[in-house]
């Protein structure tokens, strides 16, 4: 008992440590009190924002957009990645788009999206879709490619049809890689929704944070940041949990970022 508590502390100690340092810096006014509010002030601001319903309102809007774009990217990304892995034609057609397009800051295309899809949610969802498509497609592609030949041969040896091989051998074999792509794309969906909301909108957490910052309400701004952090972290943990349920035969790295 004592040792598992001890291990918990040892694992997480730096978080309260950093928060404590923050609090000390804030209280002693080392940085301007207004610009670096104390944790108590932030907590109060968060409480107020929750009470007024503002935080939930904007959070749910951002979340809705992010998840919609994300879901679209999952569907099309996996389909495309699988198609590229199975068909040389598809691969030849689409591979340059992915390898050339990857390092390009696609966010710069956002104004075009605004023209095409308007100022509201659709342009954001489309942008999220585009950005999330990349890692999911690429990972689905590599995952399918990487399935051990021996597994396919064994299936054929045991009389499986092409269809059975696809659903029972290839997809499960590609699953870890696909999930890695999903895990990379999830923070991207949040990043893109926040950025697009900051650029020009009247709703969503991105807008909320930049608006209250512009009104000098920094404690509330930090509360908004914290809200984003909570959402991002929770979503990630949900995904990890899902992965461990679905891909029970392979354990990934437990913690920091990557799969």
């Amino acid at each position: 008992m004592a040792s598992s508590l001890g291990r918990f502390v040892a694992r997480w100690y730096s978080v309260p440590l950093v928060l404590a340092i923050w609090e000390i810096l804030a209280r002693t006014g080392a940085i301007s009190r207004r610009l670096m509010p104390s944790l108590v002030e932030i907590a109060n601001a968060a409480w107020a924002a929750l009470a007024s319903g503002d935080l939930q309102f904007h959070a749910s809007i951002s979340l809705g957009r992010a998840l919609t774009g994300y879901a679209l990217a999952i569907v099309f990304g996996i389909l495309l990645g699988v198609a590229m892995a199975r068909s040389r034609l598809f691969d030849a057609l689409f591979e340059p788009i992915f390898s050339f397009g990857y390092p390009v800051p696609k966010i710069a295309l956002y104004p075009i999206f605004i023209f095409a899809f308007g100022f509201g949610s659709l342009s954001k969802v489309m942008m999220i879709f585009l950005e999330c498509l990349y890692p999911i497609t690429v990972n689905a592609f590599y995952g399918m490619r990487a399935v051990d030949r021996v597994h396919v041969w064994a299936a054929r040896n045991m009389g499986a049809t092409q269809r059975q091989i696809f659903w029972r051998v290839l997809l499960p074999g590609a699953a870890p890689s696909i999930f890695a792509g999903l895990r990379v794309a999830l923070p991207i969906s949040l990043i893109v929704v926040i950025i697009t909301e900051m650029i020009g909108e009247s709703r969503g957490l991105g807008y909320y944070i930049s608006y209250v910052s512009a009104s000098f309400e920094y404690a509330t701004a930090f509360a908004g940041v914290a809200a984003v952090a909570v959402i991002g972290f929770t979503l990630d943990r949900v995904l990890v949990w899902l992965r461990n349920r679905l891909i029970f035969w392979e354990r990934g790295a437990a913690f920091i970022g990557t799969n």
């Binding site: 040892a10 694992r11 997480w12 100690y13 730096s14 978080v15 940085i31 610009l35 030849a92 057609l93 689409f94 591979e95 340059p96 788009i97 992915f98 990857y102 390092p103 390009v104 800051p105 966010i107 710069a108 295309l109 956002y110 104004p111 075009i112 605004i114 023209f115 095409a116 890692p135 690429v138 590599y142 999830l186 923070p187 949040l190 990043i191 926040i194 950025i195 900051m198 650029i199 957490l205 991105g206 944070i209 930049s210 910052s213 512009a214 920094y218 701004a221 930090f222 908004g224 940041v225 984003v228 952090a229 991002g232 972290f233 979503l235 990630d236 913690f255 920091i256 970022g257 990557t258």
Partner: protein, 263 residues
């Protein structure tokens, strides 16, 4: 190259260009026919005006603004990320310190602190560089950490067996062994640096490519807008190619598989 190999190569390249070319041609035609919304000006016009702006220098000023911020933040963020990541990879206490913090903040878009950074540092270069630094830290840190951690202990044992002191082990074994992964982190970080810079400039800036895109869009100067987008794409692409070449040079002879090419 044999004839057969040449033809299959050529065919593959042709297919690769097929979709983008088809899209461009369709775009050009419909733009000429005048059947499109105003923002979809013809690709030929875009190319011409972009070329103009590139040669007259109108584009350069903003491009260099963006480059300064992106590369400045990249340099600082990567230096910090690599140093801390390698350290955490070889010293458990350091890793244990960073692990929860990085894991908790990893899924948070670093751009989210931009408004606050602007309040702290003003809306000039400093705030952008700061946000880029924060963003670039993560992939470089995580990749360096895993690079150093993943060094086969047999290499370390053999080094100590041959009489190497800890410093020599670090410099001559850990560092070269983690290099492939560190370079992967650098590649991801560079792409991120450009993305975050442009995004930050789109949000709040007085110059730079992101700013240019937004202002051009506002004043309906679409030629300028596309020029800025193209410029952003070019520097992102060029930067990536540079790092890929660097990586190939640095890892020559090791026959390391091409890292999951898309980062």
């Amino acid at each position: 190259m044999s004839a057969a190999a040449f033809y299959s190569r050529a065919r593959r390249t042709a297919l690769g260009l097929a979709l983008p070319l088809a899209a461009l041609v369709a775009w050009e035609i419909s733009a000429r026919l005048g059947d499109v919304p105003s923002y979809l000006i013809a690709p030929s016009v875009i190319l011409a005006s972009t070329w103009d702006m590139a040669t007259t220098g109108e584009l350069w000023q903003h491009t260099s603004n963006s480059l300064v911020r992106a590369l400045g933040g990249y340099a600082i963020g990567a230096a910090a990320g690599i140093t801390m990541g390698l350290l955490a990879g070889i010293a458990r206490p350091v890793e244990r310190f960073y692990d929860p913090i990085v894991s908790l903040t990893y899924p948070v878009p670093k751009i989210v602190v931009l408004p606050i950074l602007i309040a702290w540092l003003g809306s000039g270069d400093a705030s952008k560089i700061a946000v880029v630094t924060a963003a670039v830290f993560y992939p470089t840190f995580i990749n360096s950490l895993y690079g150093a951690k993943g060094v086969n202990r047999i290499y370390v044992w053999s080094a100590r067996n041959m009489g190497a002191r800890p410093i020599a082990v670090f410099l001559k074994v850990i560092l070269p062994a983690s290099l492939p992964q560190v370079l992967t982190g650098l590649r991801v970080g560079l792409a991120l640096a450009f993305i975050v810079t442009v995004a930050a400039e789109m949000q709040n800036s007085r110059n730079g490519l992101g700013f240019l895109v937004m202002t051009a869009e506002d004043s309906m100067r679409f030629d300028l807008m596309y020029a800025a987008i193209i410029a952003a794409g070019v520097i992102g692409f060029a930067g990536d190619r540079l790092l890929v070449t660097l990586r190939r040079r640095a890892l020559a002879g090791q026959a390391i598989g091409k890292e999951g090419a898309h980062g």
